[in-house]
Amino acid sequence: MDGKIIVVTSGKGGVGKTTVTASIGAALALQGKRVAVIDMDIGLRNLDVVMGLENRIVFNVVDVIQGRCKLKQAMIKDRRIDNLFLLPASQSDDKNVIKPENMTWLCNKLRKEFDFTFLDCPAGIEQGFKNAIEAADEAVVVCMPEVSSIRDADRVIGLLYSRSITPKLIVNRIIPKMVARGDMLSHKDVVEVLSIDLLGLVEMDEAVVISSNTGTPIVMQKESKAGMAFNRIAMRLDGHPDLPIEDPLAQKSIWKKLGIKMGRKKGAA
């Protein structure tokens, strides 16, 4: 059976695409799937450092496409997780060296080898984006609860729809206490504005910064809320689409929330 090709995209940069790609990929591999993650950000590669594999790069995705090596030679096996492989981006080329038809060829090869292939899309909606979505079966749109990120997400969602792909949304870096006091859009607001199905909610978590410092997978840290959220997202992608989505706000005690509400009422009077 052919595996799935899933593109991770956002439009805006810096919202956590690479972390999402590395984390969901790692989680699915830990759940026993064969997983490939491909860095499509030609010229500005980063997935390798986030995964701690930067010193193992020999060949890259451009080498594979241009026939300088075999796909197997370019795939880097993860240090900790079996069944997880990285195909890094080239750092010296630019995005125009890859054509959409190259991606169709590459993805057909990847489908045969892996249960899941995640394409870490570059920011923007130009050639790099077009390449990344060309052969994708599904799409995950990452956004932060913030206006510019949501506006860009809306643009990207529109472009995906025009390619007959119905994307799913991950709201990343939610700060529950700001949502509680009305200074950050809640995931419900974001979903209402974008009118798209939710795949998962990820809280702002210092552990993500720390794990990217060391190049270790956040999903292996049981005490990390973000790590656990990524694990649940992976389960939703792999046969458990109805696994309930935990509301980061609900994790605060009901009394604390009441207190915030009362405080606001007093302030308003």
């Binding site: 506006r151 643009r155 950050m184």
Partner: protein, 99 residues
């Protein structure tokens, strides 16, 4: 579509949270982006709509809300206004009667 629940909404929820401002700005930005129109077009539309509704109803203009609701593949423009009273049938329709 005209809805009558503005007052209820106002009572239930403070509308001046910064996230409400963000949400409103976003909704309109997305519509402008998609239709590639300027925001004064929607303002003109609002003015015209008020004028038409005012011919038939006495409305509270300060409570008037223009909103956008997005569904699958389409967006709905929602003008939300409390209606104070219906205008008298015999009153001249273009000029407000009781002024």
């Amino acid at each position: 579509m005209i809805m009558f629940n503005t007052l209820l909404k106002k009572l239930m929820h403070r509308a001046d949270d910064s996230k409400d401002v963000a949400k409103k700005r976003l909704k309109f930005a997305l519509v402008y982006d998609k239709l590639e129109i300027k925001d004064d077009m929607l303002e003109d539309l609002q003015k015209d709509l008020i004028e038409v509704i005012s011919r038939y109803f006495e409305i509270d203009r300060s409570q008037l809300l223009l909103d956008i609701e997005r569904g699958e593949g389409s967006s709905a423009l929602i003008l939300n206004t409390p209606i104070l009273s219906a205008r008298h049938k015999n009153a001249p329709q273009r000029v407000p009667a009781n002024r």
